[in-house]
């Protein structure tokens, strides 16, 4: 499977946030997107997952373009900005709610996802009692729990400690081994260089360069 960006541009409130971005992402690879704040990383992630429609160009996923009729990729897991869940529910309940939309996974799979991000013993704690790091881990669990074919993570390392970073790296490698397309956006160049097969740099909405890191 491929995710193809064809001359994607996006203008929001007269500001061009993405400028003529073209690239093809392939299965079984981890792509790192780096760039300063405001370079367009989050906008690109949102465009790939269908939350934004390109002003020009196309996003083509498995040979089918995203448009007003086909809003979102078939199989996608996202972590965009700070994750937000329901305060009154615990971690497990929040994920069960979301998993209920597609009903692809069982309760056991949800528990496994929570354990894989280190929230196994915290899953019955209400979300409002979670620390920032725990909230981030829950966001990651939400993104990976359905084993999506496309995994989009925007600043996933926020609020994670060292064990969290190791956990994240392991999960990304696992997703890669499952032949998913993994796209990680971050301003942390060191982390991106460590985990990515290919690094893409965004500056002022333009994709500047790509490099093979492994």
């Amino acid at each position: 499977m491929q995710v193809e960006l064809k001359n994607v541009s996006k203008t929001i409130h007269k500001s061009e946030v993405l400028k003529n971005v073209s690239y093809t992402f392939e299965s079984g690879k981890i792509y790192g997107l780096i760039g300063k704040n405001g370079s367009g990383k989050t906008m690109l992630i949102r465009t790939i997952c269908g939350l934004l429609h390109p002003t020009q160009g196309q996003v083509i996923i498995a040979d089918k373009p995203l448009d007003k009729n086909k809003s979102f990729p078939e199989s996608v897991g996202i972590l965009i900005e700070s994750p937000s869940f329901i305060d009154a529910y615990n971690g497990f309940q929040n994920l069960k709610l979301i998993a209920g939309i597609k009903q692809l996974i069982s309760d056991e799979d949800i528990v496994k996802a929570l354990e894989s991000v280190g929230l196994g013993d915290k899953m019955h704690l209400k979300y409002k009692k979670y620390s920032l790091g725990m909230k981030q881990r829950l966001g990651i669990a939400c993104a990976i729990m359905e084993n999506p074919k496309i995994l989009l993570l925007d600043e996933p390392t926020n609020a994670l400690d060292e064990s969290g970073l190791n956990m994240l790296e392991g999960l990304l490698q696992q997703a890669k081994a499952n032949n998913s397309i993994v796209i990680v956006a971050s301003h942390d160049k060191e982390m991106i260089d460590k985990i990515s097969d290919e690094t893409l740099t965004l500056r002022d909405g333009k994709m500047i360069e790509g490099s093979m890191t492994k």
Binding site: I12, R46, C49, G50, L51, L52, H53, K68, N69, K70, S71, F72, V76, I78, I80, E81, S84, F85, I86, A88, N94, L97, I98, G100, I101, K102, Q103, C142
Partner: protein, 272 residues
Amino acid sequence: MKNNKAFTFTLKHDLYYGTSNNIKRIGLYIFIFLLLIVSFIRVIPAEYKGQITLLDLYLYIFKGILPISANSEFELPLRWLTSLFTLTFILLGYVTTDLSGIGLQCIVRSPNRSIWWFCKQLWGILTGCMYWIIAWLLMTLAICLYNNNLQLHPSNFMMTYFLEGAPSQAHIMALIIGPILTSMTLLTLQLLLELCFGPIISYILIGGYLIIALYIPLPIFIGNFFILQRYQYFFENSSITLFNCLLYNISLSIFCVILGTYIIRRKNIISR
């Protein structure tokens, strides 16, 4: 099949989470409504206590004002405005919060964006029903405790001080159905406005739309169907008729659903 599953699940989420998330606002609405009930009981002279009916209480709270003319004295219909602003306050901000919170995870898993919107509109309509169920329960309970006179016709007290002429049974049915239908339409409209302009501006616009109805007795301003003191229009030779109530409310609701679908399919979903 996928659409059905996603629709059912998203609706259940809205019904449960949307309602439980707004429990404080619903509590505030109940509190304010009780204050309105108490305000009615306080104005009743002792000699009329026995004859006050359930319909009297309903008419008092949602009376509104007669059409304003050059010669008429302006009276701000505080009870009417309060009851409507609490109605629209219950839903305020839910669309925005959902799209920037857990709703984001739900919407990307839906086959298309329209499902999310349909569920919101349906939840808005059901919230309108809930508003009226609570209102009638509270009014019924209050009258049971007061004098147990649950009749649905106005008393002499109401006829003397608040009404001009006696409403017929047909009028009374229209007076009950009209506001229920209108409140559901107002909520669908508010959800649409919030989708376009955000919560604060939508609330102001809805408020403005309701206030205009006080001044202009035309069916396009559906607040007219919520002003009970204008009941005499419902069957007389004017445009504020029961037929127009049904026509304009249903048309406006459908319009809100369709336009909202058009907008959500094209909307840039960005956190606020």
